[in-house]
Amino acid sequence: MKLTLRIWRQAGPAEPGSMVAYEVPDANPDMSFLELLDVLNERLTLEGGDPVTFDHDCREGICGSCGVVINGQAHGPRALTTTCQLHVRSFSDGDVIDIEPWRSVAFGVLKDLMVDRSGLDRIIQAGGYISAPTGSAPEAHSTPVPKPIADSAFDNATCIGCGACVAACPNGSAMLFTSAKVAHLNSLPQGAPERASRVLNLVEAMDAEGFGGCTNTGECTNACPKGIPMDSIATLNREYLRASLGRK
């Protein structure tokens, strides 16, 4: 397959960037999208050019490292699929593919397709945990957790922290990411003691990081490779209201 890749090139955080076109005449449908970039990079290296910088690690859809905007869509055209799990067979011979970094106020571009997502870590640091110092835990079976609650906590805990929700949101909101953590921990009995402070602190940190507000456009959940639902945002809002009333 012959593909044309138009890739955002930017030398550093303060440098100007632009789209640059590259031909890949020998793309194989069975390649993953990142392997397509590998092949291009091997060629650029040998030609004395500058290979394209992008984040990636596990290449199996679980670490959350990868992520680019492909033809305007965060993680590309396939639903519930990270960039690394997307394959060239999702495209057609002769296609022109635009590849850009996550764009959002809170995510600065570091180089080419790589951005700074450390704001997401700081949201978790603000209270996205259960305080359980090592060694202090009671016997695991002392607190049964009803299966539906455990399952829903699990569904929310599958968030990989990729930031696609933020990139897809017209407001650059990190609401889906934050709500997944609130819904994971606040629903569990173990998370109950810190339930109110957790939601208030997470929301405060989210705002402080410069993420935008949520206007329920739903673009986040469409882009999310793990299918975190809008319900989680409703849960966050409920928890927030409950905590704010309690605080007064």
Binding site: D30, E60, C63, L110, I130, P144, A157, I160, L188, Q190
Partner: protein, 645 residues
């Protein structure tokens, strides 16, 4: 010419000489303590944020130490522990099915093919129960039954259901638990976290580990970090084979640089090959993806009887198929242990009966299961795995049999450590997959997560405290000659990589290295093959330093330079891997020497000559490594040959 020298034997002198079930208590009781008020004044470096490092960093900070922690990813949450699927073992015996600490200990020693240290394994089994309690308290959403209690399943050929799991994402959930505990400490100021920062070298002063040299991957800046002790939690070295189920950037540089500075490297040839991975689809392949072993519970493995049969699988009648595992191992059938299943697949492909691109694959067929259980039941059980397979291969396993092939998955070898998890460099501790401690020649499924968390949460912290409390350390600063020399060396190495400007890419060297190792030091190893590899590898290393092309500069973000630096270490490690494999003239666990097999083709150990751990001392680049043997004694589990026929 001899490819190694024999040095003095080595021994673990830290496990107390009391009955095995009392050892860990006694060791902890004898350990010196650091006064809580003083801990803040002690700095500990932790390299790595996977299960082992994340758990260690969080726990040490909770105890009051000042922790400086590193990972190469942009967030500590992305360590490769995140990718573990199956589960984590613990001797809780919630099922009342006869499990116990002793049985988990027994299974692990036997599963390791009698090449692990009994004391360590016993402690691992003892600690396992606490891990589950700890993780549940953190909010890890393990699978539960309708009554609200934890669900377990049996895994990897053991007869009790002791594996706790969170759907197919156990590693992710456990790591998020550790990451959150670590995040809490970062927020509290106990952990100074440096993400996107890669350790380049270990600083050793007066024979003790006192810090690291690290490079900020964004700015390229090289800095030194000094401490009272250094903990390496940098994961396994499976990527020495280029293609493996490890993450793309997993590397051996941290442990290899420590090895060069004096830490012995134990049993590098013990590598685990997982039988059910998705085969490679072409030359562009950059990594391999594991499909959970659980698929073998219902899928049937077969190849066409006739070599070169190119008919599509649905056109091949039963009479022309060979369900070779069921034929050769009627007792266990498709459920034989990993190493046996892997080797059998290779043998079939060597006979020309492999399927798919390059003939490197075998079928894993669910047609019978679908007939027996119905498609809905199969979907319920394996739906997410089938989807993953479909996403990667573009084939629908409900309609066409899956194609699978073995791939490198885990490395049992690693830096040698004593019972305290301290390497041969005092003050340098090693935890998780990076050490060699618990799995002998073969790791059982669901035991790596257990080991990483046991090391990080429970074993390392008291032993590190003991080291700090019992060691008088002089103050050092960045102007110390050893520090400046180590920085100069690390910087010089990067400068050299950048200056070569040759004609081959880093990846092309890495691929060639991987191919040599996979062919000669993979599933089946022979003296001839290993000697051939040992002839070629030094040439490849020299060629690399002569003709690698690394674009860009060291003073900014440069992923080619990061890779080149890692591959330069893999090239050296690859040689030691082959030396170890060549010297061990027996088959055991993941190490199969063709010369040492039973008449029916099974692995044959040689306990008289090889019941020891091989701890290698660095002999210089291209030099002769020195072997130190740690004799292994089996006082509790009696030496016996495995038999799965």
């Amino acid at each position: 010419m001899s490819f190694y020298r024999l040095g003095d034997d080595i021994a673990d002198t830290t496990a107390p000489d009391v009955p095995i079930e009392q050892r860990w208590d006694k060791r902890r009781f004898d350990a010196k303590l650091v006064n809580p008020a003083n801990r803040r004044r002690h700095t500990v470096i932790v390299v790595g944020t996977g299960l082992a490092g994340g758990a260690a960093g969080a726990t040490l900070a909770e105890q009051g130490y000042h922790v400086i922690q590193f990972c190469y990813q942009d967030s500590p949450r992305r360590a490769h522990s995140i990718a573990a699927q199956g589960g984590i073992n613990a001797a809780k015996n919630y099922r009342n099915d006869g499990d116990s600490v002793y049985r988990l200990f027994y299974d692990t020693v036997k599963g390791g093919d009698f090449r692990s240290r009994e004391s360590n394994v016993y402690r691992l089994a003892q600690t396992s129960t606490q891990i589950i309690d700890q993780c549940v308290a953190q909010g890890v959403p393990f699978a539960r039954e309708y009554g609200g209690l934890l669900d377990t399943r049996s895994f990897g050929g053991v007869q009790v259901a002791r594996t706790f799991y969170a759907r197919g994402q156990t590693g992710q959930q456990l790591l998020i638990g550790a990451y959150q505990a670590l995040s809490r400490q970062i927020d509290a100021g106990g952990v100074e976290m440096h993400a996107r920062t890669e350790m380049l070298d270990l600083i050793v002063i007066d024979g003790r580990a006192r810090g690291i040299v690290a490079r900020d991957l964004i700015t390229g800046e090289i800095s030194t970090y000094l401490a009272d002790a250094v903990v390496l939690a940098t994961g396994g070295y499976g990527n020495v084979f280029y293609l493996s189920t490890n993450a793309k950037n997993s590397n051996a540089s941290a442990i290899w640089r420590a090895h060069r500075r004096g830490a012995y490297f134990a049993n590098p040839c013990y590598t685990q090959i997982h039988p059910t991975c998705i085969p490679r689809s072409g030359d562009h392949q950059s990594k391999l993806t594991l499909m959970s072993e659980s698929l073998r519970n219902d899928g049937r493995i077969w190849v066409p009887k006739n070599p070169g049969d190119t008919r599509s699988p649905d056109q091949i009648p039963e009479a022309d198929r060979d369900y070779y595992l069921e034929r050769i191992y009627p007792g266990f059938g498709n459920l034989v242990p990993r190493d046996i299943a892997s080797r059998a697949a290779k043998n079939q492909c060597d006979l020309g009966r492999g399927v798919g691109p390059g003939g490197l694959g075998v079928y894993l067929d669910f047609a019978d299961a679908i007939k027996r259980m119905g498609e809905a039941a199969v979907r319920e059980k394996y739906g997410n795995l089938f989807e993953m397979y479909d996403r990667i291969t573009g084939e629908d396993p409900y309609k066409v049999p899956m194609r699978i092939y073995p791939a490198i998955h885990y490395t049992m070898g690693g830096l040698w450590v004593d019972y305290d998890l301290q390497s041969t460099i005092p003050g340098c501790f090693v935890v998780g997959e990076a050490n060699f401690s618990d799995h002998g020649a073969n790791r059982l499924g669901a035991s790596a997560l257990m080991q990483g968390l046991a090391d990080g949460y429970f074993v390392l912290p008291p032993m590190l405290g003991n080291y700090i409390a019992s060691t008088k350390l002089d103050k050092v600063d960045a102007s110390h000659p050893e520090v400046t020399a180590t920085v100069a060396e690390a910087t010089g190495r990067l400068d050299r990589l950048l200056s070569i400007d040759g004609e081959r890419t880093v990846d092309s060297f890495h691929r060639e290295l991987g191919e040599i190792l996979w062919n000669e030091c993979g599933m089946a190893r022979t003296e001839d093959g290993l000697r051939k590899a040992l002839g070629r590898l030094p040439e490849l290393r020299e060629e690399f330093w002569r003709s690698v092309k690394v674009p860009g500069s060291g003073a900014s973000l440069n992923q080619s330079l990061e890779r080149a630096n890692r591959v330069s270490d893999f090239l050296e490690l690859g040689e030691l891997l082959c030396v170890d494999a060549l010297h061990r003239e027996e088959s055991c666990g993941g190490h199969f020497r063709v010369e040492s097999q039973t008449p029916d083709g099974e692995a044959r150990r040689d306990d008289d000559r090889f019941a020891y751990a091989a701890a290698w001392e660095f002999g210089g680049t291209g030099g002769t490594p020195v072997l130190h043997r740690e004799p292994l004694e089996f006082n509790y589990v009696h030496l016996a040959q495995r038999n799965y026929a």
